[in-house]
């Protein structure tokens, strides 16, 4: 797959993809959401497939970052959050503008510890 973020060295993007997958798994396993989806006509029987995709994705993430992701997930539902107008959208603390230019590094909010995603 040419667009698979795992082929790029950008670890922040991999963490975003991981969170997207985790949200998808959570929705699929949530009885209320799954019932709503099935009522609309959407089959939801491929949960094993996306769990497999999650495992494959984590193999491309550096262990220390994966640990950080898991650690933050113990405190927050949203682990990776976008930075909007130089604010962490998890806790709304100011994010240093210089962080945006730290290429190939994963930046966390100094206030809440969430992983930051610069859109």
């Amino acid at each position: 797959m040419t667009d698979h973020p795992a082929r790029k060295p950008d670890q922040a993007k991999l963490l975003v993809a991981l969170q997207d997958l985790d949200h998808m798994i959570r929705d699929a396993e949530d009885a209320k959401t799954a019932a709503k989806m099935q009522e609309m006509g959407f089959p939801m029987d491929g949960i094993a497939e996306i769990k497999k995709a999650r495992t494959e994705l984590t193999e491309h993430i550096k262990p220390q970052l994966l640990n950080r992701y898991q650690r933050v997930s113990q405190n927050y539902e949203r682990i990776v959050v976008p930075v909007v107008k130089d604010l962490c959208t998890g806790c709304f603390a100011k994010v240093a503008t210089s962080f945006r230019y730290e290429k190939n590094s994963v930046v966390t909010c100094e206030s809440c510890g969430r992983i930051l995603y610069f859109t």
Binding site: D3, P5, H23, F42, G46, P82, T119
Partner: protein
């Protein structure tokens, strides 16, 4: 409850493709994601495409009668966005009725959607298309103005 006017407000001309070129599921998704990224100046196209392909692995969003609703949430988008596409020749989208898919409603939203507008929008679009007459009109729409008139006029 979301009105048909509110639903119609999500449809933009620049996010509608009336002559989808794609011949496969992946190509169809990529073509639609391209217009969304272009319209909203989104840099991480790959993240959106990956999320949509994963969502299709969970279960096909082509629920028969020539229509598909690829959808999902990703941090790569800032706001809820709907793209519409129509393929005259049809695309094999793993539809539940095994038939080619001709009309696509792509719905993507950020995870930070407190009011769950995403699910409301998805539900409204599915409701619209479940009606045979509306579906036929949407699939046969000649352009954006007609499509928007159909959606606005549903009185949903």
């Amino acid at each position: 409850m979301m009105t048909s006017q509110e639903l119609a407000s999500y449809f933009r001309e620049s996010l509608c493709i009336f002559d989808l070129k794609a011949a496969s599921k992946r190509e169809a998704l990529a073509e639609m994601v391209d217009v969304v990224c272009s319209e909203h100046d989104i840099k991480d196209r790959g993240l959106i495409l990956e999320m949509l392909l994963n969502r299709e692995s969970l279960g096909s969003t082509a629920i028969g009668k020539g229509v598909a609703f690829p959808h999902g949430r990703t941090l790569a988008v800032r706001d809820l966005s709907i793209a519409f596409a129509r393929s005259v020749r049809g695309v094999d989208f793993d539809s539940t009725d095994k038939k080619p898919t001709h009309a696509f409603f792509l719905i993507i939203a950020p995870p930070q959607d407190r009011d769950n507008v995403y699910l409301q929008v998805l539900g409204r679009v599915v409701d619209l298309i479940k009606d045979d007459a509306s579906r036929d009109r949407v699939v046969g729409a000649s352009g954006y103005a007609e499509l928007k008139t159909i959606i606005e006029g549903q009185g949903l």
